[in-house]
Symmetry: C2
Subunit: 298 residues, 2 copies
Amino acid sequence: MDVVRTNRELQQRSDAMRASGRRVALVPTMGALHEGHLSLVAEGRARADEVWVSIFVNPTQFNEASDLDAYPRTWEADLAACEAAGVDLVFAPTVSEMYPDGADTTVQAGALSRPLCGSARPGHFDGVTTIVSKLLLAAKPHVAVFGEKDFQQLAVIRRMVCDLNFDVEVIGGATIREPDGLALSSRNLRLDAEARAQAVVLARALEAADDAVASGEREAETILALVRREIEKAPRAVIDYAELRDPDSLEPAPARLEGPTLLALAVLLTPADGDTDDAVRLIDNRMLCAHAFAEDPR
Amino acid sequence: MDVVRTNRELQQRSDAMRASGRRVALVPTMGALHEGHLSLVAEGRARADEVWVSIFVNPTQFNEASDLDAYPRTWEADLAACEAAGVDLVFAPTVSEMYPDGADTTVQAGALSRPLCGSARPGHFDGVTTIVSKLLLAAKPHVAVFGEKDFQQLAVIRRMVCDLNFDVEVIGGATIREPDGLALSSRNLRLDAEARAQAVVLARALEAADDAVASGEREAETILALVRREIEKAPRAVIDYAELRDPDSLEPAPARLEGPTLLALAVLLTPADGDTDDAVRLIDNRMLCAHAFAEDPR
């Protein structure tokens, strides 16, 4: 497994792959790799001859310096995990390689970036579209794989790839969960034992909402009340948002659900002293029972 | 010579070129082709196996609808000129091909886009960086050629290509001029005979400034006064801007010039009734006598 540090070298590797008719899948990550990332590697492996993982903690997508500083960094373990997963190449550029002196051209996401996490984290998605553009132009992959846990990010990236003509197939990889249902996230590393135990309420809330829809419930407010009640069972959980949205436009869902609907959650897990400034922000989402809607007579 | 209408087909052509080890040069244009464009084709020909010309009047870089409507369109003549110049492929997409329904991801230029034409034409350069990104991602060329007449545009594009990791060599082609010195521009087609004759003052002003610097003049205000005096000799010319700028940063030049300096002009050529709303806006520029500075003892 090779470790590449510069855009130029990566482009040359990509050109060599293409010249020999071989396909590249890129899995962009910010490191602190877990089984969720490795499932994206497997998705890439199924679609390409080589799988490349980028590891770059992108400063421009953190709207708060404290969040950037606290983001977990586990370089040696990440390399070992990639090696074990059969990754062919790790791209690990420096900040100055990705943001050279004077760099100020940015890629700006549109309407899909405004609600949900875009509202809670101003500038976040423009940081994402900018760095993903740079990574796609450095690696020039045939396929790029992103996790569905970050549903809005995936939607914003799909829109960007379409809008700007990136010649890459974007694949969404299913969310991987702990046995109790907690979605895998690098941020889980920052939870103390009690917060970790309580974090299960996100998954339980999604499950409860899905069960309700499967049983015929269609009133958005009733479903959201159920979701809030589940989350509020955890004393250390503070809801950032809990919303029902159209999965394509991310517009608010109608008061009475009429078709497959995204339930998107962002929840702060506070430290024992309750200070939300030091909280760990977790997100999760679920498409509410598309199956139930498919059976509707409409 | 082939005419291609879709991004997908162009990407496939580009992949086929690369697979056979052949190089592509792209010359992005808005049509109304003249000898200036054809000199860019020649620059591309010298550096690649095929030269592709894109012809697309990009609506998002026009800050005024009237300017977009008035922009010359000469499709049949453009095709004939490309054919005669040995162009291998013309890419002529529709507006909806380049801006599909709902497209709202944009590429935003930074500091280099703010002064000069960026100040006079709000949003113009973001339209340029967005469409050039789309064209570069559709054609995936090895080389892209832009005219130096649009000096600031070239600087903004070079910055973008560096910042976002576009794997393309950007070439600037020298400005081509009429016998009297007027820089070739598609907009010249819109000048009536009297305005056309008076438009020569842009080139004369650049020449006068260069002569002054060659003779030892270094005071920015003295040089700009000379420039204004030359332009004001044309009763139908109205200065939009006349500025001395650092050619790399586009920051204002110091009061006393210390090295090679860009003189950038934008001048409105008004109709006979003097209505600036119907004026034709021409730009031109010159690097003031780099040679003179090279001889300075500093």
